[in-house]
Symmetry: C2
Subunit: 192 residues, 2 copies
């Protein structure tokens, strides 16, 4: 998506070794106009898939996911991060390791809101190692829901998550895929 690539070039900040900061427009301060365009693009990409539900994980996926859900006219369910030791019986749960924070969170979705018959679009802001997406896929598998696609704002193409998930047969659509970036010069190369 041209608009997003241009914005990353303009306002993204590359930091060594492989950090891309986009918190001026995507995951702390958010440009709602850009996010609505992304929602429209996800609708266009996944229009034929008969999506019944969009899911994401709190917090930074929510803004993008709500726009995709609004464009498609289906509910959004966001998985909650839980550090409590006792997980209730009425939730689907998966463990997600965060490379950013170096810790593991349980993510949970109430069984009421994800079930057999759901055709799910998973949305997230970043795809790097694929931990969050794998956690969300696991919740869908437990629920008997079908994952019809994965929509990502920014994929770090030089990290293994996207490749592994595509090899497993998932349809991954990333609006911008970063092939490489240079922490010294700030240069970003997108996959075309």
């Amino acid at each position: 998506m041209k608009l997003l690539e241009e914005r990353i070039r303009k306002d993204g900040v590359v930091k060594p070794p492989d950090i891309l900061k986009v918190d001026s427009f995507l995951n702390h301060q958010i440009d709602p106009i850009l996010i609505r365009e992304m929602g429209r693009e996800f609708k266009r990409l996944f229009e034929g898939e008969g999506i019944t539900k969009v899911i994401t994980v709190e917090a930074s996926g929510i803004a993008i996911a709500i726009e995709a859900a609004a464009e498609m006219g289906v509910p959004l369910v966001f998985a909650k991060k839980s550090r409590s030791r006792n997980i209730a019986n009425d939730v689907w749960t998966a463990k997600v390791f965060s490379f950013t924070h170096g810790n593991t969170n349980d993510i949970v979705i109430s069984k009421q809101y994800l079930s057999q018959g759901d055709r799910v679009l998973i949305i997230d802001d970043f795809l790097a190692n694929g931990e969050a997406v794998r956690g969300l896929v696991s919740l869908c598998e437990q629920a008997g829901a079908e994952v019809k696609g994965v929509g990502i704002a920014i994929e770090k193409g030089f990290q293994p998550g996207g490749k592994e998930l595509r090899e497993k047969g998932f349809r991954i659509e990333s609006l911008a895929i970063i092939e490489s970036m240079n922490g010294e010069t700030g240069e970003i190369v997108f996959r075309s």
Copy 2:
């Protein structure tokens, strides 16, 4: 807002002593069409205030806040909850006690994204004791930003937050104010 009151009556679940569960359409599963209508209503209510920024706190405020921000054409900044003991120098920070979880979180906003000259609309899904709003007000005060209004989806009118904040002179607009609710019968009375 009629639409929201009707939805609360239809899908809200009252539990003793004073819990209103709206997680089927507002804060776990989210109805994006309802949320967009709420965004339009906040725009209408605060149109004359020259808002330059919408702020909220993760996670359940984000969906409503992004719609209000999109309708107004201004950025959204969401405060992050932080449990780390070391708060960085480059953030505004406030302590927020959660009655729901019985713990205290620091909430932070990067100094880059909230500063003097900002005319802020605070958005949140619930107003009960007012802890989260007071934390967000504190971030604005630290930044020298002006709080021009507070937009709430559901206010529990029988808890003190709304009254206290109005007495301090803040303009609070709640789309639905619950005057009372009955955990036994499930009856909900809205303030008219």
